[in-house]
Amino acid sequence: MDRFYWDSFKTFFRIGAFTIGGGYAMIPLIESEVVDRHRWLNREEFLDIIAIAQSCPGVFAINMSVFIGYKLRKLPGAICSTIGAALPSFVIILLLAMCFTTVQDNPVVESIFRGIRPAVVALIAAPTFSLAKSAKVRLSNCWIPIAGALAIWLMGVNPVWVIVVAGLGGYLYGRLIQPTEP
């Protein structure tokens, strides 16, 4: 039996179980496991996979695990690493959800969450600006996020449409307008 399947399951299980904050917080851990420890990929391949996993839809850590698993052992490899990455979340959240539904109406718990909720809104709002920087939002294209946000917020537009229109707009811009620019 190929040890890889068990190893990749274990590795991604550890990555899923020990990173709090998700997404980009996982990059250093995945790197140390996949590149330094197991040598499944070299650093250059790893950077390429990060770029692909980031530009694709879906959960970043899952995209990474599917790609790495598939690259090394095709479909069975992808299945092992993906289950490994998703399982810790699934189990931990289920246990919490079962407990939380019974205590959420407790006044102590409710007051704690009354304090936490505004903090969560700030945690979602704050990265907007750093994301804007890394997405290369400038004066010339800052209307795109602003229009998208207003359409969703005030007009109740489904965010999926904003994604579709933005992708289509980018495609048409690259196809029709950009070639005519000096």
Binding site: I62, K71, I93, F113, I116
Partner: protein, 191 residues
């Protein structure tokens, strides 16, 4: 049938969820709160808080939790709710799974073409807008209270919002620690 709509909803979220967990929150919120009315904004914000505080990707965490809560709120038992979690999580992962394998097999060479680049030149700024919209939609009376009804809670909420922003962005306190502080403040001041 709630399981089928959970599957379709989270498959769609997985397919269009660009920009990682936070970008995905806007889609999840739109579907579970506004379209399907599976839960209130306050419940959704609690889920986001718990998803952030627990290990693992926030997208998977919130899908698992939303699946559980949606079925539970529909009046079904815990076993069904676990099935709801499994449905939502599987549906969220499936598009990633198919897409990444297709890219690994076929499209690797197309990933760096000018065409794909130009699509992403429109997508990336739009995801920033999605994140802003998620934050704006969560600034409502369920999460902050209203000034007329409960001025004390409203002022505390705004103060916690601002201090979390400053704490995370300026002082660079760990977000999880910051949420713990906010929870403690809630217990002291809003109990």
């Amino acid at each position: 049938m709630i399981f089928i709509s959970l599957f379709i909803t989270f498959f769609e979220i997985g397919l269009f969820g660009f920009g990682g967990g936070y970008g995905m929150l806007s889609l999840i919120q739109n579907e579970v709160v506004h379209n399907h009315h599976w839960m209130s904004t306050a419940e959704f914000t609690n889920i986001v808080a718990i998803s952030q505080m627990t290990p693992g990707p926030i997208g998977i965490n919130s899908a698992t939790y939303c699946g559980f809560t949606a079925v539970k709120n529909a009046g079904m038992g815990t076993t069904c709710a676990v099935m709801g979690s499994a449905t939502a999580t599987l549906a969220l992962v499936l598009p990633s799974f198919i897409l990444m394998i297709l890219i690994a097999r076929l499209f690797l060479k197309y990933m760096k073409t000018p065409l794909v680049e130009s699509i992403f030149s429109g997508l990336r700024p739009a995801v920033v807008g999605l994140l802003a919209a998620a934050a704006l939609l969560l600034m409502n009376k369920e999460n902050f209270g209203t000034f007329s009804q409960d001025p004390w809670r409203f002022c505390i909420s705004v103060a916690l919002f601002l201090s979390t922003w400053v704490g995370v962005k300026v002082v660079r306190i760990n977000p999880i620690l910051m949420m713990a502080f906010a929870g403690f403040a809630g217990l002291l001041l809003l109990y």
